[in-house]
């Protein structure tokens, strides 16, 4: 006879499972296997994985790399932050500290970069808006993520890990230049070079 959960069960309670209960357990088990298989499968077939290149790094060393990166590729400033435009395929360094993301980065649509994230002080959170891409930024660790921006526009990096009382002030910027704009810029740049060679003042000669 059936008993409730507050009564001690019969002496021998290791009994045959009812058919329908068994069916549900097997359905649930099969679903669990699907859930498990999806993750390795996405590593093989999917484009978005949090694997990255992971290393330990001293905060001071990371800061030095960021500084070097900024000096090499800086093209301007935005709200007091350096704007940096690295060539496609290069390593990009983004430094998190209370309460800023440094520098502002300009990337090209469709190009691959390795984005290195680390923190100089406490935990921070990389949150790319409005896309909703999120990674944890941990001091002492360099998280190198290969990224391929697939759309042009202005994106913001907020901090989504509580990092102190100024947490909500911490917003940075990533600009992605569209493939067509890049082509135009290249043409202009090429024209400027030609113009300079001809000793003429053509388009772009005011640079």
């Amino acid at each position: 006879m059936y008993r409730t959960g507050i009564e001690p069960p019969e002496r021998i309670w290791w009994k045959k499972v009812g058919k329908h209960e068994k069916v549900w357990v097997w359905i649930a088990f099969a679903w669990c296997m699907v859930l498990f298989a999806m993750m390795p499968l996405w590593h093989v077939r999917g484009g978005q994985n949090p694997s990255g290149i992971r290393h330990r790094v001293e905060p001071a060393d990371f800061q030095a790399r960021v500084l070097e990166f900024v000096q090499e590729y800086q093209v301007g400033t935005d709200n007091g932050l350096p704007v940096v435009e690295p060539p496609p395929g290069s390593d990009v360094y983004l430094q998190a500290s209370q309460f800023a993301w440094i520098p502002v980065v300009r990337l090209r649509q469709g190009a691959e970069y390795t984005l290195h994230l680390s923190s100089l002080d406490v935990n921070h959170g990389f949150g790319l808006l409005p896309l909703n891409i999120n990674f944890q930024v941990v001091p002492g660790y360099d998280y190198g993520l290969r990224i391929v921006p697939n759309e042009a526009g202005e994106f913001h990096v907020m901090c989504n890990e509580f990092c102190g009382i100024g947490h909500h002030l911490m917003v940075g910027k990533i600009i992605v230049v569209g493939a067509d704009e890049v082509a135009d810029a290249d043409t202009v740049a090429a024209g400027a070079t030609n113009a300079a060679a001809d000793g003429d003042t053509g388009p772009g000669g005011d640079r």
Partner: protein, 569 residues
């Protein structure tokens, strides 16, 4: 005076010390709940951009207070109840019980002091190297030692009960579930000790703590402690089912095996918080986040079947045999114990469970980590699931342990509805807002004072408004709960020793006590007759298939959303 009293309603022999320990723990739990609840209101009214009540610093402080205060003492009361009361046993070491209680209270007071004086604005997780006052960490350690002592005491009670043969055969399923909760608690609290002792020393500048290592071990405490809640909550599901409608256990083997799966695998959940961290590789992440190939998820899917199935079968055996859902129609929806049970199962499963597994998928975590989707998930599990179940059982604990009638019984009857519907709106809106990337733990998503203003679509403001309304409804439900509980315990009409046998009368008593489900007879099973194609519990079978369909849909929609993003890896 005999150290035992006999419970006139259930006939159980209740040790008076157990009574007192349950009462003390329950009272402190209610106070903590009140403090945490007030903080919840303040946090909610700040995140609602239209109100933005608190200043930034106060907001983060109240968020810390809110996280630390909820749900900390109830488990202890449950452990004493499940062991000493259900097994008719004595509490072997009353003084140890009280020392543990004092340790926990002192630890709590230390933590409260550092938080309220602004010495620990580090949020619940207190990630190193964000620094709090040393007493904050010491308070947590004292609390954990006290809690660990209670767990040890619980196991001692089980040993004594076994040796003194206070029960026959195996322990009841509810106790079995509480044992698994205690086992998980032991593991959890050890993680707490492993991480908080070095962190305490770090706060005194005596050693270094690696930020990633802290996150790994802290979440061994932080997430696993929520799995104590899960195991305790499922035990309470079986308990409430038994008390309110005489729910039966379909198969002890299946239900108990599912509890064992919790113990074996659920501590791996620390990984859920580290899926987009730089310290671990993909193999580690996949293996751990899946709890050993989702075996703990399997356990929850089993309980999600067996609890409603036991309820359905228990009611069918007692004559509620009409159609697929006749039993649901006949169920005592006016019994706050039963309505709490029903809401707890549905919201925990449909909202909390599905979102939890989905967000805990390695890659999908990229679009969930640290967004509002995460608190959306755990308010559905811990609050609408666990807290709701604990609230439901309170309506039985007050008459059975405190020997009082429920005050404002009519309010108590609608309380589960208000709380559950409010929390459902709240957690769903929160989860939905999170899909737009709205961060958790953030004072101002308008970024009004920041260097750049990302700005969210106007839809987000609307969803946040809905979230706030849901939250306010839930807070009203929570406030009613606290008022009803406190007034009942201190001023409720006392139940006379003689008018409280089975079928006790009193206007402030749930029907499970005034009109308890009748005992089953062997003829009941014959009267039920052969079952149809969907088996002996067809209604539940249909419900779990609907659940599975919702699960599959939500899971694959999230993969689709992920696939639209930039390539990253």
């Amino acid at each position: 005076m005999s150290p035992f009293r006999s419970c006139p309603t259930t006939g159980l022999q209740v040790h008076r010390t157990a009574d007192q320990l349950i009462k003390a723990n329950a009272i402190v739990a209610t106070v903590a709940l009140l403090v945490g609840g007030v903080a919840a209101l303040l946090v909610l009214l700040t995140r609602w951009e239209a109100v933005l009540l608190l200043e930034a610093e106060m907001f983060y402080r109240m968020l810390t207070v809110h996280g630390m205060n909820m749900l900390i003492f109830f488990e202890m009361a449950v452990l004493y109840f499940a062991s000493a009361v259900l097994l008719n046993c004595r509490v072997p070491a009353p003084s140890t019980g009280w020392i543990a209680f004092v340790l926990m209270v002192v630890g709590t007071l230390m933590v409260e002091w550092t938080m309220w004086t602004g010495r620990a604005d580090v949020l619940f997780t207190s990630y190193v190297p964000l620094r709090a006052h040393p007493l904050f960490y010491l308070g947590v350690i004292l609390f954990a030692v006290g809690a660990l002592t209670v767990v040890g005491h619980f196991f001692a009670i089980l040993v004594v009960a076994r040796r003194e043969k206070t029960y026959e055969g195996s322990v009841p399923l509810v106790t079995y579930g509480a044992i698994t909760a205690a086992a998980i608690a032991a593991v959890t609290l050890l993680h707490g000790a492993i991480i908080y002792i070095p962190t305490f020393l770090w706060s005194l500048d005596m050693m270094n703590v690696d930020a990633q290592m802290y996150r790994l071990i802290w979440w061994g405490l932080g997430h696993s402690s929520q799995q104590i809640n899960v195991a305790a909550m499922v035990s309470i599901w079986y308990l409430l089912g038994a008390l309110t409608v005489g729910a039966v256990v379909l198969n002890e083997k299946v239900s108990r095996t599912a509890f064992v799966l919790y113990v074996l695998f659920i501590s791996m959940a620390s990984a859920h918080h580290l899926l987009v961290d730089p310290g671990m590789g993909p193999a580690w992440k996949v293996w751990n986040t899946s709890y050993f190939m989702y075996m703990a998820v399997l356990a929850s899917m089993i309980h999600g079947f067996t609890v409603p199935a036991g309820t359905e079968l228990g009611m069918r055996l007692r004559g509620a045999t009409q159609g697929l859902f006749g039993w649901l129609k006949r169920a005592p929806w006016g019994d706050p114990g039963f309505s709490s049970l029903a809401f707890s199962i549905v919201v925990f499963g449909f909202v909390g469970g599905i979102t939890g597994v989905t967000f805990g998928t390695e890659q999908i975590n990229i679009i969930a980590h640290n967004t509002l989707r995460i608190p959306g998930h755990f308010h559905a599990t811990v609050v609408s699931g666990t807290a709701m179940a604990f609230m439901g059982i309170t309506y039985y604990v007050i008459p059975l342990i405190f020997r009082r009638e429920i005050a404002f019984y009519r309010l108590a009857k609608i309380q589960p509805y208000l709380f559950a519907i409010g929390m459902l709106i709240f957690s769903m809106a929160m989860t939905f807002a999170g899909t737009f990337g709205v961060p958790r733990r953030h004072w101002d998503i308008g970024f009004s004072q920041a260097l750049f203003q990302p700005g969210f679509s106007p839809t987000v403001n609307l969803i946040i408004g809905v979230m706030a309304v849901g939250g306010l409804i839930a807070i009203v439900g929570g406030a009613i709960y606290i008022v009803v509980t406190v007034v009942s315990v201190f001023f409720g009409r006392k139940m006379a020793a003689d008018d409280s046998g089975l079928g006790a009368t009193g206007r402030g008593l749930p029907p499970g006590i005034t009109n308890p489900p009748r005992a089953l007879k062997p003829e009941d099973k014959e009267a039920l007759g052969p079952s149809g194609r969907l088996g002996p519990v067809p209604g539940t079978m249909v419900l779990v298939l609907i659940f599975l369909a919702a699960f599959i849909l939500y899971y694959f929609v999230n993969w689709m959303l992920l696939s639209f993003l930039w390539e990253v890896g």
